[in-house]
Symmetry: C2
């Protein structure tokens, strides 16, 4: 089955907008076992749109068009679709009523130019858009079924998942349903994960589960993709494979599906009713910022402090490092203990990074000390990462948050990870 | 002149990589007055590449191909270009010598598969790549001149600017050179900038300067694009227009060309030999993080503190707000004064944001107090922004850094901005 995508809009074609809609659409199709074969971007221009529709309609089995369903004069998708399909446009009364209701619910009167959004090619099938006024639709052009979707990302995403994907799957043959299970981990490289998970696919019948990885440092995403006739069947097939992955990757799994590391950390803190302060050097405050921007973080993250190096950081939390006589390998613990008392929080998380001297280069690294002070004491994690300044910053921030996750979940925080370069 | 771009690579087509290379290429061409007409993305697949080259070669005058010049078996651009042009591949001895030298300089032996990168279609013109081993080249396919560029962003960008753009300009007719002057501002909306700059284009002869805007909140980019026969001629034409823009946008211009707000702030602090501490609430520490991640920031930004609300922030810098009896509209000033002394820095920048109550919505806003404490006192800026939580965070962080820029540059920090919603 040949699938093409056509992206429309002057902002995308001129480079003013980066085309993240296309990456989303293509990834969703890829994960459903329906890779995109060809992509075309054209502007808001009748001639180009018509040419793109005709070319794709002659080559492909299914074509997803994104954008051009809005109310303004440069939104040309319906008009050009009708022309390419050789039919007229007609008012869809049901969609017009939906739009009028949409505005009424918001105590507004529908502007006259929105009426254009209910003009569809005769014979088109409506693709529901529960979150906007742009009406999606499907129609045959040439030998292909075309699926027209809105350019607004939120509306597009929902329509792709709920309306377009099931229809293309149905056309592709047996599969009527897809399921994608994702695990996010920190500390296992792709090659080790591949070894650890060898054979898990065989736990499901007849190759129905496909294992894949996506490495985006510092995290690794492990994906299990399934296609079949129903969600119930897929869940059943997935179960033994999912259990095996969870057992083999074990403590390294930090989140699943749409969860994030900072999200699970915040949830664990809230569930336990704990407050925290964060102190960090070298990271530019990124550990705290990742948590702080989440909704609900303000009840939990009560203070954060950052400084360029350890002495300044210690001073900022009220500890005179030179006078204290603390050993170098106990600095994070001492700062965490002091900081927790100063901030009057239940926990203090401290991330100290001592970078190598000299210029940035691929073997540039740094020593990392992470400490978590709690009511009954303090726990420490030491490590070394190598790979350049930005690699070190990202890895150290991830390790700090992941150590906190492990502590909150009652797991050991010092399990050896693949990225570590330990002395000797 | 019809220009097309063909992007190649399975990672881009599958959505694993977001296609930022295309946005760069298209923006550079657009700014040079050469808008892209059509874009195609295909995978690392002989048949698709050949089809894409033939279609574009039949339609366009100039085609830029990105990717597929690497040493591995899935890099197919040279091979497919030769096939589409109906010529053989031949070893380019000069490029082979360049590559061998490249490896020698790094004390490495060139792996045998890199030799493939010096195989070019017979008759191709070499496009220099001073920063990598992928050899760019140009060749006729159909009625179009094709320009092949590497997928590595750093190599691609330089080749587009230095090799491809001048050649396409030369083919497009009279213009041999382009010049793009950019001004970044905060506080002026696009429509007011348009009014303020009315008529500036007429200061250059015969419409040779084109004025444009790109609004990406919180900043506005004002662009002056020129095409002509030489850089010297363009600089001369630009001069009166540039001067007029600088005068009319005045203090609102915070940076030019590739400069950033945080970059100019850091430079001004370093030039003046000043250290700073930053304290902020509600922003999640973003004001400090923007500065902290820059090279050289560690000598200047000595401490940063963040907290979810003002009382916690004051406590974190050692001020008991309740006991101090400070009036609400003097809180930022009091915190800045205390924080500056506590951190022993030359300056303290404080950003306080008091968000509205309730859910996020488009008319959600907040009151902002910014204070800069210095050796001789403290200066204050008060404002109110409306537009949702994220809009408020971004705007407040920008306003804090921009107030610091104005202070360091000796400008008033309380000039009214367009985004402000002041009471009554």
């Amino acid at each position: 089955m040949r699938i093409e995508v056509i992206c429309t809009g002057d902002e995308v074609l001129s480079g003013a907008t980066i085309n993240t809609n296309f990456s989303f659409i293509s990834r969703q199709l890829y994960d459903a076992g329906l890779p995109v074969h060809w992509e075309t971007t054209v502007g808001d221009d009748r001639e180009s749109l018509l040419e793109a529709f005709r070319l794709a309609g002659a080559r492909a089995d299914a074509v997803i068009v994104n954008g051009g369903l809005g109310p303004t004069v440069d939104d040309l998708s319906q008009e050009t679709a009708a022309r390419a399909a050789g039919v007229d446009l007609a008012l869809d009364e049901a969609w017009l009523a939906r739009m009028e209701n949409h505005f009424r619910l918001r105590s507004r009167v529908m502007p006259p130019n929105n009426r254009k959004q209910a003009m569809l090619p005769v014979g088109a099938e409506v693709l529901d858009n529960p979150v906007g006024t742009a009406c999606g639709f499907a129609i045959e052009i040439g030998r292909a079924r075309f699926f027209f979707t809105p350019g607004v990302p939120r509306e597009m995403r929902r329509m792709i998942d709920e309306q377009v994907l099931p229809r293309i799957l149905a056309r592709s043959g047996t599969a009527q349903a897809v399921l994608l299970k994702r695990f996010h981990s920190f500390g296992i490289g792709e090659s080790r994960a591949d070894v650890l998970l060898a054979g898990v696919e065989a736990l499901a019948p007849e190759g129905s589960v496909k294992l894949g990885f996506r490495a985006h440092y510092p995290q690794l995403e492990t994906k299990l993709a399934l296609r079949g006739s129903s969600q119930a069947e897929l869940r059943e097939r997935l179960a033994p494979v999912e259990a095996a992955v969870r057992e083999r990757l074990g403590n390294f799994i930090l989140a699943e599906d749409d969860q994030t590391l900072e999200g699970v950390v915040l949830a664990a803190l809230r569930d336990a009713g704990l407050t925290i302060m964060i102190a960090e050097d070298y990271t530019g405050g990124r550990v705290a910022t990742r948590l702080a921007v989440l909704t609900g973080a303000s009840d939990v993250l009560r203070r954060s402090v950052a400084a360029p190096e350890v002495t300044a950081l210690a001073t900022a939390v009220g500890l005179d490092l030179a006078a204290s006589g603390v050993a170098v390998d106990q600095q994070a613990a001492a700062i965490a203990t002091t900081a927790r008392l100063a901030a009057r929080t239940d926990l203090a998380l401290v991330a100290l990074i001592e970078p190598d001297a000299g210029e940035d280069r691929t073997d540039f690294g740094g020593h990392i000390q992470i400490a978590i002070a709690h009511r009954d004491g303090v726990i420490i994690r030491r490590s070394r990462l190598v790979g350049g300044r930005e690699w070190l910053r990202l890895g150290a921030a991830e390790m700090a948050l992941d150590s906190l996750r492990r502590h909150l979940w009652g797991l050991p925080i010092d399990e050896r990870i693949d990225f570590e370069k330990l002395p000797g």
